[in-house]
């Protein structure tokens, strides 16, 4: 059930608080809170204020270009888009089953992507909040503050990132703009030198990953009831699972469970996603709100991503990650864990899983094969004109759906990215924070940071490269019902918090990244 804070009954009588743009989040998003005269929160919304037009960007392009061109949609998880598009395009060439070499090369690249993405999120974005506290000075609550206070931990974060990037590089030949995944397979196998290179450090990577899972577990448990309740919302969960129920990131059936852990559908074909999931449009956000069709929009919204995956699967098929999973799910006492801050814990369990899976793959002789591309035999009407590729990206389930014309040009595209899948659950989480932590209190930067902490747990990636450094990262304006500005709180680009009317934004470097 959606929160009652989604829409206030008399918004014209309320004061508006806007947090924009969200810091440490890609793209243009903002949060608005409507407060009454006693500072009670009456409405809370996470808005997406940029229209991305992904589908129009893709239409008209030859399908063989898709795995390369879609990487330009997002600089944060280009490999996920590459692989989802390649899986969709496999169907255009009749390659329902890939060669073992091709599938394992794609999996290896994917594990590298998830590992480096999860490392970036924890060490760069999340750990300053978790280690220093939500109330810490924002000028210190960042990656550089982490390096100063926890140099060894921060160094490990940088090096884990680098390891994941190197996995991607050896699989695709480049750090970015790789073209390894092609319709029907891959264009290269792993060579022995690269396999040896990655093998040198994998034991160390696993050890570090296991230690950081332990650190996160201790942080979460030390947070006690506050961490369990913070931004917690009873959500349905959606993820891919392997046929035997194991955690699966590259290919599997769709499983959805309700907030009590009851199965809604299981091992559903990803090709049927459009019948299982529908999308709702709301007038106040450009981002759609997907929901489980059988439940409807009011109760059918769901969570994707690390916590959903770790909760949904029956087991993880690597030993260390499975032990860690069991410790997390035990907290739920038979029901799915719904604590938003547990997403960080689940994310690191997946980081450990990826490290173990990479180690296992590096010992697999199929990676050094020469059977790279498969192509089917066309039927009487040629190959399929519809291709759907679904993958578990770092932030959650990612859907790519294309239709092509007789010339192989994309005539229609539909993408549901992970952050869109999490749209409603993120909104519900900030409403929980607004109700529990902000309601009736004078707004301060630490209180507003709690809203951002809830959003950051989902690691939303709204779009690539749309924000401009040098812009004011956080501005909060209190406006009376008649439009008069009552107060403003702003956090400038230098991290300092100032009260008063808007001035010139921090100089920054003016670079739009």
């Amino acid at each position: 059930m959606s929160s009652t804070l989604e829409t206030a009954t008399h918004p014209e009588r309320l004061r508006r608080v806007a947090i924009e743009p969200l810091t440490r989040v890609e793209g243009h998003g903002k949060v608005t809170l409507l407060l009454d005269d006693d500072d009670h929160v009456r409405q809370a919304r996470l808005h997406i204020v940029e229209f991305r037009g992904f589908e129009r960007f893709i239409q008209g392009r030859p399908f063989v270009e898709l795995p390369v061109i879609v990487q330009r949609l997002c600089g944060i998880c280009p490999v996920s888009h590459q692989l989802a598009a390649a899986k969709a395009c496999d169907r255009f060439v009749g390659a329902e089953t890939l060669s073992p070499t091709a599938e394992k090369m794609r999996r290896l690249m994917h594990f590298g992507q998830v590992l480096q993405s999860h490392a970036l999120h924890f060490f760069h974005l999340a750990s300053p909040d978790l280690l220093f506290g939500f109330d810490d000075d924002p000028a210190h609550r960042n990656i550089v503050g982490l390096i100063r206070d926890q140099p060894d931990l921060a160094r490990r974060g940088v090096l884990l990132r680098r390891y994941g990037q190197e996995v991607i590089r050896v699989c695709s030949g480049k750090r970015i703009h790789g073209n390894a995944a092609i319709p029907g397979g891959v264009n290269k196998a792993l060579d022995n030198a690269d396999r040896e290179l990655l093998g040198i450090d994998i034991a160390q990577v696993i050890q570090w990953a296991e230690e950081v899972v332990g650190l996160m577990r201790r942080i979460f448990l030390a947070g006690g009831e506050e961490f369990r309740r913070f931004a917690a919302v009873p959500a349905n969960t959606l993820s891919l699972v392997r046929p035997d129920g194991a955690l699966e990131l590259y290919d599997g059936g769709l499983r959805a469970r309700d907030a009590a852990g009851r199965t809604l559908f299981d091992h559903a074909s990803d090709q049927d996603y459009a019948a299982l999931l529908h999308e709702q449009v709301k007038p106040w956000s450009y981002m759609k709100f997907p929901f489980i069709a059988a439940l409807g929009p009011e109760t059918g919204w769901y969570r994707v991503g690390p916590l959903a995956r770790v909760s949904n699967c029956d087991f993880i098929d690597t030993p260390r990650a499975e032990r860690a999973r069991q410790e997390l799910v035990a907290l739920g006492d038979g029901r799915p864990v719904q604590a938003t801050l547990a997403i960080h814990w689940a994310r690191l369990i997946e980081l450990l899983y990826c490290a173990e899976a990479i180690e296992r793959l590096l010992g697999d002789p199929d990676l050094i094969g020469d059977d790279l591309v498969r192509e089917g035999v066309p039927g009487a009407n040629g190959f399929r004109r519809t291709g759907i590729g679904v993958i578990e990206a770092p932030r959650g389930t990612l859907f790519h759906h294309y239709e092509i014309d007789a010339d192989g040009l994309v005539s229609r595209a539909n993408l549901i990215v992970s952050t869109t899948n999490n749209n409603q659950v993120m909104n519900e989480s900030i409403r929980r924070v607004a109700q529990d932590e902000l309601d009736g209190r004078t707004l301060t930067e630490p209180l507003l940071n709690r809203i951002e902490v809830a959003i950051r747990a989902y690691d939303p990636c709204l779009s690539c490269a749309t924000h401009a450094l040098g812009q004011m990262p956080l501005a909060v304006t209190l406006v009376r019902g008649d439009g008069e500005v009552l107060d403003q709180l702003r956090r400038d680009a230098d991290g300092a918090v100032r009260r008063g009317p808007p001035g010139i934004a921090g100089a920054g470097d003016g670079m739009p990244r």
Partner: protein, 172 residues
């Protein structure tokens, strides 16, 4: 060679030029396009053997790029700028940890601060901020940005030639 140990400073190209940007977002392509044109010039025979320039394309600066800065005499970050001087602005970057309060990416100043924390000294980091206007998905480079790119490339080429002539590219 371990991927988890600092690479030896010796043997790396003296100059690293990092082109930041998404080629599919209009004028945000300035960084990668400048590198593409440098790369083409190197391929046409601008090679020598007394020094080296390495070119690195990135979507955005990330913490691990601090590792790429080690052992360099100069590191120049080329990126499109939403504001600032036309056609471009060149500047030296001082480490500034407060600029780490950002998004998934780092500012050049924050990257310099990460480097300083890791290695104890500030990196020789510069920015070449080339003015852009439009950054929409699927847009191509605008005419004004193209002219700014020409000017920035001419300046960079001359500046590199003054310092490290002749140049040898080791492209990513």
């Amino acid at each position: 060679m371990s991927l988890l140990e600092p690479e030896p400073a010796q043997g790396r190209a003296a100059v690293l030029v990092i082109g930041v940007g998404n080629p599919a977002r209009g004028d945000d392509a300035i960084g990668p396009l400048l590198l593409e044109r440098l790369r083409a010039e190197f391929a046409r025979g601008g090679a020598g053997d007394t020094s080296a320039i390495e070119l690195l394309d990135v979507y955005q600066l990330q913490p691990e790029h601090a590792l790429d800065l080690r052992g360099r005499r100069r590191v120049i970050v080329v990126d499109a700028a939403a504001g600032g001087p036309v056609p471009y602005a060149h500047g030296l970057v001082s480490p500034d940890p407060t600029h780490a309060f950002s998004t998934h990416s780092l500012s050049p100043a924050a990257l310099a601060a990460v480097y300083q924390r890791l290695y104890g000294v500030a990196p020789p980091l510069e920015t070449l901020a080339v003015r852009g206007e439009c950054f929409g998905l699927g847009e191509s480079l605008g005419n004004a940005a193209a002219a700014n790119l020409d000017a920035a490339l001419a300046w960079l080429r001359a500046d590199l030639d003054r310092g490290v002539v002749p140049i040898r590219a080791r492209c990513q």
